[in-house]
């Protein structure tokens, strides 16, 4: 009798505790099965669609996100540099290369919850492809960090983790075939103040 109660209580505790904790962890931190890596960047092309996996769906519902539709564009996120070191707001980075074909793209800095960072007054929150200065071969170099730099510069102040978001609008990349062989610019760390 006592043994049966013991089994039931332990089993229930493991089931409820373990199930709830693992579900909470998966919904908040698990990338889902639909994540697509392109160099230092990751995109979630199925987010918000009927084909999204249950984890991605649960997260979209919890965050109340309004993900871009496939005809609108696609967002790529980077949390680490080329060597795998996490991006930090106190550091200076250089983005170099080219973007996949798109009508235009934008680049902005965000915190680790993907809330856009607001730089000090007078500085732009984001850069876009129509204002970026390019080199002769069409590629570009963008400096990211607290110190002003000549050429393309995205100001980022403060401290803490940093995420970079590059959004491509009106792009064939969102199609089913488009994501193979997509190359995005590489992110390298120049220096760190801290």
């Amino acid at each position: 009798m006592f043994r049966t109660i013991f089994i039931v209580v332990v089993a229930l505790a493991i089931a409820l505790g373990g199930g709830a904790y693992s579900a909470w962890y998966a919904v908040n931190d698990f990338d889902g099965f639909g994540a697509l890596k392109a160099g230092d960047w990751t995109a979630y092309p199925l987010e918000g669609t009927h084909e999204a996996d249950p984890y991605s769906r649960a997260r979209t519902a919890r965050e109340g996100a309004l993900p871009l539709g496939s005809a609108e564009g696609i967002a790529f996120y980077a949390y680490a540099d080329h060597r795998g070191e996490p991006l930090m707001r106190g550091c200076e980075y250089r983005i170099q290369g080219n973007s996949p074909p798109a009508r235009f793209w934008t680049l902005h800095a965000a915190d680790d919850a993907l809330v856009p960072l607001i730089p000090r007054a007078g500085l732009p929150e984001a850069l876009h492809s129509e204002e970026v200065i390019r080199r002769q071969d069409g590629t570009y170099v963008i400096a990211i960090g607290p110190k002003p730099r000549p050429g393309n510069w995205l100001a980022v102040q403060g401290s803490g983790p940093l995420a970079l978001v590059m959004t491509l609008y009106d792009t064939p990349v969102t199609g089913d075939s488009g994501l193979i062989g997509v190359t995005l610019p590489s992110i390298s760390r120049v220096a760190c103040d801290a």
Binding site: F6, I7, A11, A15, G64, L66, E72, P116, V165, D170
Partner: protein, 181 residues
């Protein structure tokens, strides 16, 4: 010892079931989902600007260079015509169902003269629309959607600050009213 292993095994199987049930139920019970957010902005069949300067959790995953407006609708009241005048550098839109699922998307390149003129209709309403003369007179794109309640989100690009008032009035004046077949 054996009974403890029994309990452990049962518990793990149960944990798996609880995990699956919670993950599947989150979208049903999430109270801060996109539908709740959009309907909190105001009445149906009107566009409401989503504030760029709102609290942090409303600004997450937004692009600072794009302004957004959302309009909740109910297709059971009739087909909805989404319409805007004015010329902006880029606009795109997505239609979401009540459950926050993206069911349709479009950008200005896919529409006639880059104008925003779209009719959302259920399958039966679409047949009615095609029989009527209204559809033949206008260049509206007709999107057939098998949903009841839902919302449209229109995004428009602000390349620099001089465009902001133009893009804001484009979104502010956009209409999303029920149209008679």
């Amino acid at each position: 010892m054996r009974s403890f292993l029994w309990a452990l095994g049962l518990g793990l199987v149960g944990a798996g079931l609880v995990h699956i049930v919670i993950v599947l139920l989150v979208p049903v019970y999430a109270d801060h989902n996109s539908w709740a957010r959009v309907t909190a902005l105001g009445a149906e069949n009107q566009f409401h600007l989503l504030d760029q300067a709102g609290p942090a959790d409303q600004r997450r995953e937004t692009d600072p260079l794009l302004l957004r407006a959302a309009c909740p609708f109910d297709l059971d009241n009739g087909p909805v015509r989404v319409f805007a005048t004015g010329s902006v550098p880029f606009w795109s839109l997505s239609v979401f169902g009540r459950n926050g699922e993206n069911v349709y998307s479009l950008n200005d390149r896919s529409s006639v003269d880059r104008r925003l003129d779209l009719v959302l209709a259920q399958p039966l309403q679409r047949i009615e629309l095609e029989k009527s003369s209204v559809a033949q007179k206008t260049d509206s794109i007709v999107a057939e959607l098998d949903i009841h309640k839902g919302f449209v989100v229109v995004r428009a690009f602000v390349p620099d600050e001089s465009w902001r008032p133009i893009v804001t009035s484009f979104l502010h004046d956009a209409a999303c009213a029920v149209t008679e077949p």
